[in-house]
Amino acid sequence: MLGFDTPPAIDSGSTAWMLASAAMVLLMVPGLAMFYAGMVRRKNIIGTMMYSFGAMAVIGVQWVVIGYCLAFGTDRGGLIGWDTSLLGLASIKPTDLYADKLIPQLAFVMFQGKFAIITPALISGAVAERMKFSTFIVFSLLWSTLIYCPLAHWVWAPGGWLFERGVLDFAGGTVVHIASGFSALVLALLVGRRQDFERGGAVAPHNLPMTLTGAGLLWFGWFGFNAGSAVAVEHPVAGAIAGLAFATTQTAAAAAGLSWMLIEWWHHGKPTSLGLASGIVAGLVAITPAAGHVMPWAALVIGMLASYACYAAVQLKGRLGYDDSLDAFGVHGVGGLLGAIATGFLCFTPVAGALTGGNWGQVGKQLLGAGATIAFTVTGTLVLGLLLRASMGLRVDADQERDGLDLALHGERGYHSELI
C-alpha cells in the first residue's frame, strides 16, 4: 500500500488523545442508555435505551451533514456559524489542521460530534416511559439543529457572543448540561406525568446492576469528555490542562459519590447504590464547566456541593409534582448550573475567580452565560414541544403506556423467559 505522508505539523500525541477521547465520549451514550434503562420498569427498557441509541444514529448523521457547519462554521454575527463548503464536511481534507492545534480537523469534528449526540439523549431521561419514539427522534433532530448548534457556537466558537465575553464553560456545563437539564424539565411538563406517577409512587428500578454499570461507563467516558476538552485551550492537546481536567473530574466524581452516600445515610439510614451512582453523575456534571479551570481541592468542594444541590432538587420533585422520570433536570440542570456558577468563584486559569482572586466579574460572566442558556433553551424547547404536541403528539396513548413502550412501539421485549 502506498505510504501517506502526514504533514510533520501534526502532533501524534495530541491526535492520539483527541481520538481516544472522542471514542470514550461515544461510549458514554451506551453508558447513559444503561444508566437510564436500569431505572425504568421492565416493560420500558428497550424504549428507554432507544432514545439514546436513536440519538446516536440521527445526530450522528446530522452532525456530519449540517451540525458542525452550524456550530463551528465561520461566525455570523456571534449567533451562528456557516460555511456552505462545510456541509457534509465536504471541504475538510484529512490533512487540514484544527485552528492552531496540531491535530487533524476531522478529529476535532468527531470529538465535538459526540457532545452533540449525548445532549439530546440526556433529555430523554425526563420523558422516559411515555414519550413517543417517533416524536423524540424528530425532536432531537430539530432541537440539536435549532438549539444545540447555535448554543455551542455562542459558547465555544471564536466569535460566539458568550465566548467573546469570556464566559467559561470548559467542557459543556452550560452547552450540554444546563441546556439538556432545563429542556428536559420543559419537555417533562409538556408530556405530563406517567399514569403510575399519578397514582403516586416512585417506580422501583428494574435492573440496578445495569444502572451501576452505566454509571461506570459514564465515569470512564467522562475523562475523554473533560480532559479531551483541553483541545480548546492548549497545545499540545494532551498537556498540563488535560492532566488538570482529568484530576478534577476524578476528584469531583468521587467526592460527590461519597457525599450523596453520606446524605442518604443521614437522611434515611440506607446508602443506596442508585444514590451512589447518582452522586457520581452529579459530580461529573458539576465539574464539567470547571474541569480545566480549577484546582483539585476546588473539585472536592464542587463535588460535595453538587450532591447536596441535586439531592435536594430531586426531593423537591415530589413536592412540586412534575414527573421528571429519571431526574434529568434534577441532576443535569441543577448540577450544571451549580458548576457553571462555581467556576466563576473557584477558577484560577486562564483567569482568577471571585474567591481565588477577588475577580467578581467572572461570576457575573458565568451568570450571564447560564442565564442566556436557560432563557434560550427553555423558550426554544417550549416552542418546539408545543409544535410537536400539536402535530405528531408527544405521548403514547394510555394502553401503550400501560402495556409498555417496548411491545407497543418497538415490537420487542427486553427479556424473554424460556416460556414466552
Partner: protein
C-alpha cells in the same frame, strides 16, 4: 372454605387488590398470593419482530392470584375480583377467569391454627 384462583391482566392487579380489601375486612393485611403466569386463551399473544421477521408469541402474560376464603366470603370475593379485573364496562377478551376450588383444610404455620380462623 374455598380456594379462589383467578387469572387476570397484570395491569389490573392493583385494582383487584383494592376491591378485595373492601370485602375481606382484614383491613390492610388481607391475605393473598400472586404469581406471574403465561396464558393462552381466546386472546392472541403479542407480536414481536426479529430482524424483520414477525413472531407471534402464542402466549400472553397474566397474573394468577389465589385467595383462601371462608364460605361466606366466596361470593363477595368473586364479585370484588370481577369488579377489579374487568377492563371497561363490559370487559374485553383476555380479562381472564376465576376458578373456585374446595378447600379441605387450612393451617396457619405460625400458630398451627386450623380451618376457618386460620384463613
Amino acid at each position: 372454605m374455598k380456594l379462589i384462583i383467578a387469572v387476570i391482566r397484570p395491569e389490573r392487579l392493583e385494582a383487584v387488590q383494592h376491591e378485595l380489601v373492601t370485602v375481606l375486612d382484614e383491613g390492610d393485611s388481607y391475605r393473598l398470593t400472586v404469581r406471574p403466569v403465561e396464558g393462552h386463551g381466546r386472546q392472541q399473544g403479542e407480536v414481536e419482530y426479529v430482524r424483520g421477521q414477525r413472531v407471534q408469541s402464542r402466549m400472553v402474560s397474566r397474573v394468577e392470584i389465589t385467595v383462601g376464603v371462608n364460605d361466606q366470603y366466596v361470593e363477595p370475593a368473586i364479585d370484588a375480583i370481577i369488579r377489579g379485573a374487568r377492563s371497561g364496562a363490559n370487559g374485553q377478551v383476555g380479562d381472564g377467569k376465576i376458578f373456585v376450588v374446595p378447600l379441605d383444610d387450612c393451617i396457619r404455620i405460625r400458630t398451627g391454627e386450623r380451618g376457618g380462623q386460620a384463613i
